[in-house]
């Protein structure tokens, strides 16, 4: 606690962890995350790399506030998120965090446009028309605006991934997290996604934290966090 307070003032960290530790009991207790102390600065594009099974996804679920069952502390823009209620965390996720999954997770019964609008409608800060306008803007940015009226099940994998990114952007979050967001894309589409991310961080000041296995992708980011066996090694 003393450590957390002493370090929480002097920087422009958007996201920061203090001694995060996570174990699964299955059937014996296994520690999958050990003493994780990482941070992401405002506008910084950070990638996480590491061998399969080293705990990258597990860490990302904690950072995205979806997993609350961990030890240690998590700060978002100097606000302690650890210990907040489920409803409070939902608000944080809705307003400040965009999440892109490895598998394009869209709501199959809704149109592409509606999928993108959904978190904006939930936030409720703008009128429906404004949200729709923003959503179209994001879709255009990602080059899938021509698919807007189609059902989410009627577009290709790469298009779905870009729609999912558009959705993550709709509320102009402080940070976007992705778990292998380009894992399912061909290199051309992966490049498009990378360029969009780069643009977001440099032009809008959005922070990015992306898990990837793609070394070329990682090399082009601002900083790489290396993980092995539940620890950060560099």
């Amino acid at each position: 606690m003393a450590y957390a307070e002493s370090t929480s003032t002097q920087n422009n960290h958007i996201l920061r962890t203090v001694e995060v530790q996570k174990s699964f009991v299955d059937p014996v207790e296994v520690e999958v995350l050990k003493n994780i102390n990482i941070w992401v600065d405002k506008g910084e594009f950070v990638s996480i790399m590491g061998k399969s099974g080293c705990g990258k996804s597990t860490l990302l679920y904690i950072l995205s506030t979806m997993d609350t069952n961990y030890k240690g502390q998590l700060f978002l823009a100097d606000r302690l998120l650890t210990g907040l209620s489920g409803n409070e965390l939902a608000v944080v996720r809705n307003e400040q965090i965009g999440f892109v999954f490895q598998f394009h997770y869209l709501l199959p019964e809704f149109s592409v446009l509606h999928n993108v609008m959904m978190p904006g409608l939930k936030l409720g800060k703008k009128s429906r028309e404004e949200v729709e306008f923003d959503a179209m803007k994001q879709l255009r940015l990602l080059g899938v605006d021509d698919q807007a009226t189609k059902k989410a099940t009627q577009i290709s994998g790469g298009q779905k991934q870009r729609v999912a990114i558009a959705r993550a952007l709709i509320n102009e979050p402080k940070i976007i997290m992705g778990d292998e967001p380009t894992g399912n894309l061909d290199s051309r589409n992966a490049d498009i996604v990378f360029d969009i991310f780069k643009e977001l961080s440099s032009e809008l000041g959005t922070s990015l934290l992306v898990v990837t296995h793609d070394a070329d992708f990682a090399k082009r980011t601002d900083r790489i966090i290396e993980m092995a066996d539940g620890r950060v090694i560099s």
Binding site: L106, E109, L121
Partner: protein, 419 residues
């Protein structure tokens, strides 16, 4: 704040599986529809039977029972005081079967604020005569218009209005059984022999039909004056006084009070018709038990379908939660779905119930017992429709609540990792 989007999601979920949603709604429709039909019909029937017995029966009947004097002369004698007196073959006192002091008593009772009306009856034994044939019978003298106002006399007469009898001093409403036996018609005259031996020829203005064959074979109605003449008595000869109260619940109290105050015999309707209440309450219990059972079955239908939807929609729930929808938002989405099903099904059920009740109320239903009733009795009380709506909402809410709660607890990490 963002309920609009929740409702929209709920609606989309329902509309993408129209068939299941429709079936779940139909369950509610049948539950509510059946409830409305059952309760309308049953209470209609209760009302009819109430009309049959309760509305036609005096709340308190005052009469004079002919019985031996409980205080025999020997009890009053000083000489035999304290000893055990045995008297055999006690005879009832020689007295008239009329109620004592009936006219002043009626005048006083009419002023009582609890009493809606008081009407006299004069019962006279007679023989109906046709040639040499004599039929045993009973002529009852009534104050026709009061009798109709208080006890629906109209419901027993066929072929005439109460005023036809009231306006004809020499008129008679003849028991329909008697009329059949003697082949008499309205407008004919019937000849009667009184117990004093006098002969009366009265004009038939209508027939009396109670539905009880034995009664219809004996009983006829005339004006009070005529009955007193038949009995050979004066105008204070009154054998029964019928009292109707504003509140039937006060009948017992009133009958006790009258009996004590005037030293007459009085019996209240509850004591006289004790079996009647039981029938009414059993019909009510059956109605509600059947309807609630149907609604619970409908509730299980909703519960089942929502559980299925939630199972299929695990991914969607995970996405919604990951993008900032809270557990309570997810819960609302599914409760809304249940409520949609409940409201649509419930409204259709009210409609179905109303239409079916209407059809039943138009179906022919003829019975000897109630000549004035031609169709099934149905009670269109709006209260039932209100109760039905409340039932529908409550059942669907609970049927939706449990699956919705389960959905709100789904951990998005489990689902995302499971991919």
């Amino acid at each position: 704040m963002s309920n609009g989007v929740l409702i929209q999601i709920a609606k989309t979920h329902l509309l993408t599986r129209k068939k299941q949603s429709a079936i779940a709604s139909l369950g509610v429709t049948f539950g509510i529809g059946t409830f409305i039909v059952l309760v309308s019909f049953m209470t209609g029937l209760n009302g009819l039977l109430d009309g049959l017995i309760l509305n036609r029966t005096p709340h308190v009947r005052i009469y004079n029972e002919v019985k031996p004097n409980p205080v025999q002369p020997i009890e009053k004698s000083e000489r035999f005081k304290g000893s055990v007196n045995m008297i055999h073959s006690i005879k009832p006192k020689q007295e008239l079967s009329s109620v004592r002091n009936s006219l002043p008593m009626m005048a006083v009772l009419k002023k009582n604020p609890l009493i809606k009306g008081v009407t006299p009856q004069v019962s006279a034994r007679i023989f109906y005569q046709s040639g040499s044939v004599l039929l045993n019978g009973n002529a009852i003298g009534i104050d026709v218009l009061e009798e109709d106002r208080l006890f629906n006399f109209k419901q027993y007469i066929v072929g005439a209005n109460p005023s036809d009898l009231a306006n004809n001093e020499n008129g008679i409403v003849l028991g329909i059984g008697v009329a059949k036996k003697l082949s008499l018609n309205i407008g004919d005259r019937v000849q009667m022999l009184s117990s004093t031996g006098a002969t009366f020829r009265l004009k038939i203005v209508g027939f009396f039909q109670s539905g009880l064959a034995d009664l219809d074979k004996m009983q006829s109605y005339v004006n009070v004056k005529m009955a007193q003449r038949i009995a050979g008595q004066g105008n204070n000869f009154i054998t029964d006084i019928s009292v109707k109260l504003y509140d039937i619940e006060k009948a017992k109290y009133m009958s006790d009070q009258i009996a004590n105050t005037y030293g007459v015999n009085a019996i209240d309707i509850k004591t006289a018709n004790a079996q009647f209440e039981t029938g009414t309450s059993i019909r009510n219990i059956i109605t509600y038990a059947v309807s609630i059972t149907l609604l619970i079955v409908a509730g299980f239908g909703i519960y089942n379908i929502l559980n299925m939807v939630i199972y299929e929609k695990m991914n969607d729930i995970a996405i919604l939660k990951a993008t900032g929808f809270s557990g309570s938002d997810v819960k609302k989405i599914f409760i809304y779905q249940a409520m949609f099903i409940g409201i649509v099904g419930g409204l259709l059920g009210l409609l179905l119930g109303g239409v079916m009740s209407y059809a039943i109320s138009k179906a022919p239903f003829e019975t000897e017992a109630i000549p004035t009733v031609k169709t099934f009795p149905v009670n269109f009380d709006p209260l039932f429709y209100l109760i039905g709506s409340v039932f529908a909402l409550i059942t669907t809410f609970f049927a939706g609540y449990l699956p919705a709660k389960k959905a709100s607890k789904i951990d998005p990490v489990d689902i995302i990792r499971g991919q």
